[in-house]
C-alpha cells in the first residue's frame, strides 16, 4: 500500500539576508511525512528547527526547493494545518477568554454557530479543560495555557499538526501529562503530527520516526525509525531496553551533529537521496 | 548613508515638494497655502526684522519662566508630599480633580488679573506644566526601593540625607520625564497665551500676520513655532540621555 505524502519537504534551503549579511540557516532538507504519521524532529540548539517549522507552516519563504502540502506547494499558511507554538503565553490572545480563543479560527472558517459551540466544548473537554471556558489565558497555569493552545489546534480540525517545542517551558510533571495527551490525540483523531523538540527522550517516546538534524546550515543527519510498541506508557515504555538503545543512538547522532557532522558514515540513510524515502514509505 | 536616514530625508523631500507644487495647481489658491519657496522667502524677510527676534525671545522668556516656576514648585511639593505617606493619600483625590481642569479655562481670569502682559501667559504655563512635574515626581518617590528605604532608616539617616541618597536617585528619571512633558506643554501654552490673550511673543506675531492678511508671513511663523517645538523635544531628550547615562532605561535603549 502506497500513500502519497501529506507533507513533502523537497530540498529546502533557507538563507537569511539582511543588509549585506547572508546567513545560511538551512542548506538542504529533504524528507516526507505520510498521512497519519507522528514524526519528531530533534537537533542541537541552533539547528534551525524553528526555521524549518516556520517554512513548513508557510510563515517563512524558502530560498530554494519547496514544501508541498497535500501535493500543492506552500506559499503562506495553508488551510488544514495548525501550529502549536512553544511560547504558549504569547500565542493565546490575552484579551479573549479561553472559549473565544478556541472559537476564533472556527469563525474565520465560517463554521456555523451551533457547530462551533460543539467543537469548542469537545476540544476543551479532550484536553481536560471543562471548567475554564470563561477564564482569560493569563489566569491559567503554563501547562493549562498550552492545553488551550492544543484545544484550539484540535478544534480547527487540521490534517497536519505542527508543534514547535511545545513543552519546553513547562515543568517535568506537566510535560509528561502533555506528552501522553499528544499521543492520545494523535491516535484518536488520526491527524498527522510533526513534533519539533530538543529533548531526545521526548522525541523517542513520542515519535514513530525521529529526524535528527545537523547543526546550522542544516541537513537531515538521519531518519531513525522508532520500532517501539504503539501503546506507550511513561513508565513501561521508557523502561524497555529498545527505548534505551534508540535513545542512545539518537543521543550519539545529536553529539555528532554538535561537532558539526553533515553526514553519518557507514549509514545508508544519508541525506539528499530521494530514493531512500521512496523505499521507506511502503 | 544608512537606508533609514535616506528614507527619512526622502519623506521630508516629498513633503516639501508637495507643499511647493500643490499651491500652484488650481486645487488650493495661493491665498490659502502659499508655495513652500515663498514661505521660505517670507521666513528670510522675518529673520531680517528685529521684531521677529524680540518676539522669539519673548516666547522663550515666557516659556522658561513658566517652566522654571512649575518645575521648582512641582519638585518641592512632589517630594514633600511623596515622602509623607499620610499627606499623599490626603492629597491624591484633590490632585486628580485639579489636574484635568483645562488651563485655558483660566484665560479670562488671567486677563482680568494681569491684563495682556506676559504674566497672564506665565500663569497659564505654570498651571499646565506644574501637574506634569508633580505627578511624575510623586510616581518617582513612590518607586523608591523599599529595601533601600529600610536600610536608610535602619542606619538612622536624617530626612535630608535620606532624600539625597535614596529618594533622589530613584526619582530622577521620573523627574526628567516630568520635565520633558512639562516643557512641551509649556511651549504649547506659551504660544496659546500669546495668540489668544495677545501677550508679546511668536503667537501674537502669528495673530497679527493673520489679521493683516499676510498669509506667507503667518505660515513662516508657524514653521518657526514647529521648529521651536522640535528643538525643545530634541534638547530635552539630549539632557535626559546625558543625565541618566547610568540608568537602566537609557542603557537598554542604547543596546537596542
Amino acid at each position: 500500500m502506497t500513500t502519497a505524502p501529506v507533507l513533502a519537504v523537497d530540498h529546502v534551503r533557507k538563507i537569511y539576508a539582511g543588509g549585506d549579511r547572508r546567513v545560511e540557516a538551512v542548506r538542504d532538507l529533504h524528507f516526507e511525512v505520510t498521512a497519519g504519521e507522528l514524526v519528531c524532529v530533534v537537533g542541537p540548539s541552533g539547528a534551525g528547527k524553528t526555521t524549518l517549522l516556520r517554512c513548513i507552516a508557510g510563515l517563512l519563504d524558502v530560498t530554494g526547493g519547496e514544501v508541498r502540502f497535500e501535493g500543492a506547494p506552500i506559499d503562506g499558511p495553508p488551510r488544514g494545518m495548525a501550529v502549536v507554538f512553544q511560547e504558549y503565553g504569547r500565542s493565546l490572545f490575552p484579551w479573549m477568554t479561553v472559549r473565544a480563543n478556541v472559537e476564533l479560527p472556527l469563525k474565520e472558517k465560517r463554521v456555523p454557530r451551533e457547530r462551533r459551540a460543539v467543537l469548542v466544548r469537545d476540544a476543551l473537554a479532550t484536553v481536560g479543560l471543562d471548567d475554564v471556558h470563561d477564564a482569560y489565558p493569563w489566569q491559567l497555569s503554563g501547562g493549562m495555557q498550552q492545553r488551550v493552545a492544543i484545544a484550539r489546534a484540535v478544534a480547527y480540525g487540521p490534517h497536519v499538526l505542527l508543534m514547535d517545542e511545545p513543552f519546553a517551558a513547562v515543568d517535568a510533571q506537566t510535560r509528561a501529562d502533555l506528552e501522553d495527551l499528544v499521543r492520545a490525540l494523535w491516535s484518536r483523531l488520526g491527524v498527522t503530527v510533526l513534533f519539533v523538540t530538543h529533548d531526545i527522550d521526548e522525541a523517542v517516546y513520542l515519535g514513530q520516526r525521529v529526524l535528527v538534524l545537523s547543526n546550522s546550515p542544516t541537513v537531515v543527519l538521519e531518519d531513525v525509525a522508532v520500532d517501539l510498541p504503539a501503546a506507550r506508557d511513561q513508565l513501561s515504555t521508557r523502561a524497555l531496553p529498545r527505548f534505551a538503545e534508540l535513545r542512545a543512538h539518537v543521543y550519539g547522532l545529536v553529539q555528532q551533529a554538535k561537532r558539526g557532522a553533515r553526514t553519518v558514515m557507514a549509514d545508508p540513510t544519508a541525506i539528499g537521496r530521494p530514493n531512500v524515502y521512496e523505499g521507506r514509505t511502503t | 548613508m544608512n537606508p533609514a536616514l535616506r528614507r527619512g530625508l526622502t519623506g521630508l523631500g516629498v513633503f516639501v515638494a508637495v507643499l511647493e507644487v500643490f499651491p500652484r495647481t488650481d486645487v488650493v489658491g495661493r491665498g490659502y497655502l502659499p508655495p513652500f519657496s515663498s514661505i521660505v522667502s517670507a521666513l528670510g524677510r522675518q529673520v531680517g526684522e528685529p521684531a521677529f527676534w524680540s518676539a522669539l525671545l519673548d516666547t522663550l522668556r515666557g516659556w522658561s519662566a513658566g517652566l522654571g516656576i512649575a518645575a521648582v514648585a512641582g519638585l518641592v511639593l512632589g517630594v514633600a508630599i511623596g515622602v509623607v505617606p499620610p499627606l499623599r493619600s490626603l492629597t491624591a483625590s484633590t490632585i486628580e480633580f485639579l489636574r484635568p481642569i483645562p488651563s485655558v479655562a483660566l484665560i479670562p481670569l488671567a486677563v482680568l488679573l494681569y491684563g495682556t502682559g506676559m504674566r497672564s501667559t506665565v500663569l497659564l504655563i505654570v498651571y499646565a506644566s506644574f501637574w506634569q512635574v508633580l505627578v511624575q515626581v510623586l510616581d518617582g518617590v513612590r518607586d523608591v526601593d523599599p529595601v533601600a528605604a529600610e536600610t536608610a532608616r535602619s542606619y538612622r539617616f536624617g530626612l535630608r540625607t535620606r532624600i539625597r541618597t535614596v529618594v533622589w536617585p530613584t526619582a530622577l528619571p521620573y523627574v526628567l520625564t516630568g520635565l520633558r512633558l512639562a516643557a512641551t506643554v509649556a511651549l504649547v501654552l506659551a504660544i496659546t497665551g500669546e495668540l489668544v490673550i495677545g501677550s508679546p511673543g511668536l503667537g501674537r506675531q502669528i495673530a497679527l500676520a493673520q489679521s493683516a492678511g499676510a498669509v506667507e508671513t503667518m505660515y513662516a511663523l508657524v514653521v518657526v513655532a514647529g521648529l521651536l517645538g522640535v528643538a525643545v523635544n530634541l534638547s530635552i531628550r539630549a539632557v535626559e540621555r546625558r543625565t541618566l547615562r547610568w540608568h537602566v532605561s537609557v542603557r537598554r535603549e542604547a543596546a537596542a
Binding site: 508557510g58 510563515l59 499558511p77 501550529v83 507554538f85 504569547r90 500565542s91 490572545f93 484579551w95 476564533l104 479560527p105 474565520e108 472558517k109 482569560y136 493569563w138 489566569q139 480547527y156 | 533609514a4 528614507r7 527619512g8 530625508l9 526622502t10 519623506g11 516629498v14 491665498g31 490659502y32 493619600s89 483625590s93 484633590t94 480633580f97 484635568p100 481642569i101 483645562p102 488651563s103 485655558v104 479655562a105 484665560i107 479670562p108 481670569l109 486677563v111 482680568l112 504649547v188 506659551a190 504660544i191 496659546t192 495668540l195 489668544v196 503667537g203 495673530a207 498669509v215 503667518m218 505660515y219 508657524v222 513655532a225 514647529g226 521648529l227 521651536l228 517645538g229 522640535v230 525643545v232
Partner: protein, 254 residues
C-alpha cells in the same frame, strides 16, 4: 470600615478647600473675587437656560466630533505606519515636525480655509489631537507580539478579524495612552478656538463675560469648564478600565 476611611481621606481635602473658599469669599466686596455662593448661584441661570442650547451643546458636539475623527484617523494611520518599517522610516521626520507644532497655531491657518464656523473648530481639534493618537498607535502596532501575529496567520484570520482581534486589541494599551493625551488637547483646542474666533460656545461666552465685566458669570464659566474637564477625565478612566481590563489583569499576573 476600610472603605469608609478611604472615602473620608479622599473627601477630606476637597471638602476643606471648597469650604475654605466658601467661607473666605463670603461677603467679599472684591470685584474680581466674588463670593463662591454668588458664582454657584450663577451656574444655573447662566448655563442651563438659553445658553445650554446656544453655547454648551454646540461646544460639546464640536469636541466630540473632532475627537472621534482624530481617534479614527490616528488609529488607522498609526497602524499602517506601525506595521511597515519602511513606511515608518519615510514618515518619521515629517511626523516629528508635525507633532512638534504647538496645535493652537493651526487655528489661524485653518481659519483661512474653513472660516470661523463649526467646521473650522472640528478641523482644529482633529489636526491637534491626531498626532499623539497616531504616534502611540504606531508604537503599539510595533509592540504586538510576533508569536501572536504568526498565530493569526496560521489560523488564517481574514483582514477584518486581523484588524479587530489582533491589531486593534493588541495596540490598545498604547492607543489608550495616546487617546488620553489627545483628550486634554481636544478640550484646550475647543476652548481657545472659541476664544479666538467664534460666535458661540463655552469659551466664547466666558470671554464675553470677562470683557463685559460680568465677573460672577465669568467665574461660573471657568467652573463649568473645570467640571467638564474633570467629568471627561473620569469618563475616560471608566472606559479605560473596561477596555483594558485584560491588560491590567495580565500585568497583575506577571
Amino acid at each position: 470600615m476600610r472603605l469608609l476611611r478611604s472615602t473620608l481621606t479622599a473627601a477630606a481635602l476637597p471638602v476643606a478647600l471648597v469650604t475654605a473658599w466658601w467661607l473666605i469669599s463670603r461677603g467679599s466686596q472684591s470685584f474680581f473675587w466674588p463670593p463662591l455662593s454668588d458664582i454657584v448661584a450663577e451656574l444655573r441661570p447662566t448655563w442651563l437656560g438659553e445658553r445650554l442650547r446656544a453655547d454648551v451643546v454646540p461646544s460639546l458636539l464640536r469636541l466630540a466630533t473632532g475627537y472621534a475623527l482624530a481617534l479614527a484617523a490616528g488609529i488607522l494611520a498609526g497602524l499602517a505606519i506601525g506595521l511597515s518599517a519602511r513606511l515608518r522610516q519615510y514618515c518619521e521626520p515629517v511626523l516629528e515636525f508635525c507633532r512638534s507644532i504647538p496645535p493652537p497655531v493651526l487655528i489661524p491657518i485653518i481659519m483661512l480655509f474653513a472660516g470661523i464656523g463649526d467646521q473650522m473648530k472640528v478641523i482644529v481639534i482633529v489636526s491637534g489631537c491626531v498626532w499623539p493618537v497616531l504616534l502611540n498607535t504606531a508604537e503599539g502596532a510595533r509592540a504586538i507580539d510576533e508569536v501572536l501575529r504568526d498565530t493569526a496567520r496560521v489560523y488564517r484570520l481574514r483582514p477584518a478579524a486581523r484588524f479587530r482581534h489582533l491589531l486593534l486589541r493588541g495596540a490598545s494599551p498604547h492607543i489608550v495612552t495616546g487617546a488620553r493625551q489627545a483628550l486634554s488637547i481636544a478640550i484646550i483646542l475647543m476652548v481657545i478656538s472659541e476664544m479666538f474666533a467664534a460666535s458661540n460656545g463655552l469659551g466664547f461666552a466666558t470671554v464675553q463675560f470677562q470683557r463685559s465685566f460680568a465677573i460672577p458669570q465669568m467665574w461660573s464659566g471657568i467652573l463649568l469648564l473645570g467640571v467638564i474637564g474633570v467629568t471627561l477625565a473620569l469618563a475616560f478612566k471608566l472606559v479605560e478600565n473596561r477596555v483594558l481590563a485584560w491588560y491590567f489583569g495580565l500585568r497583575r499576573h506577571q
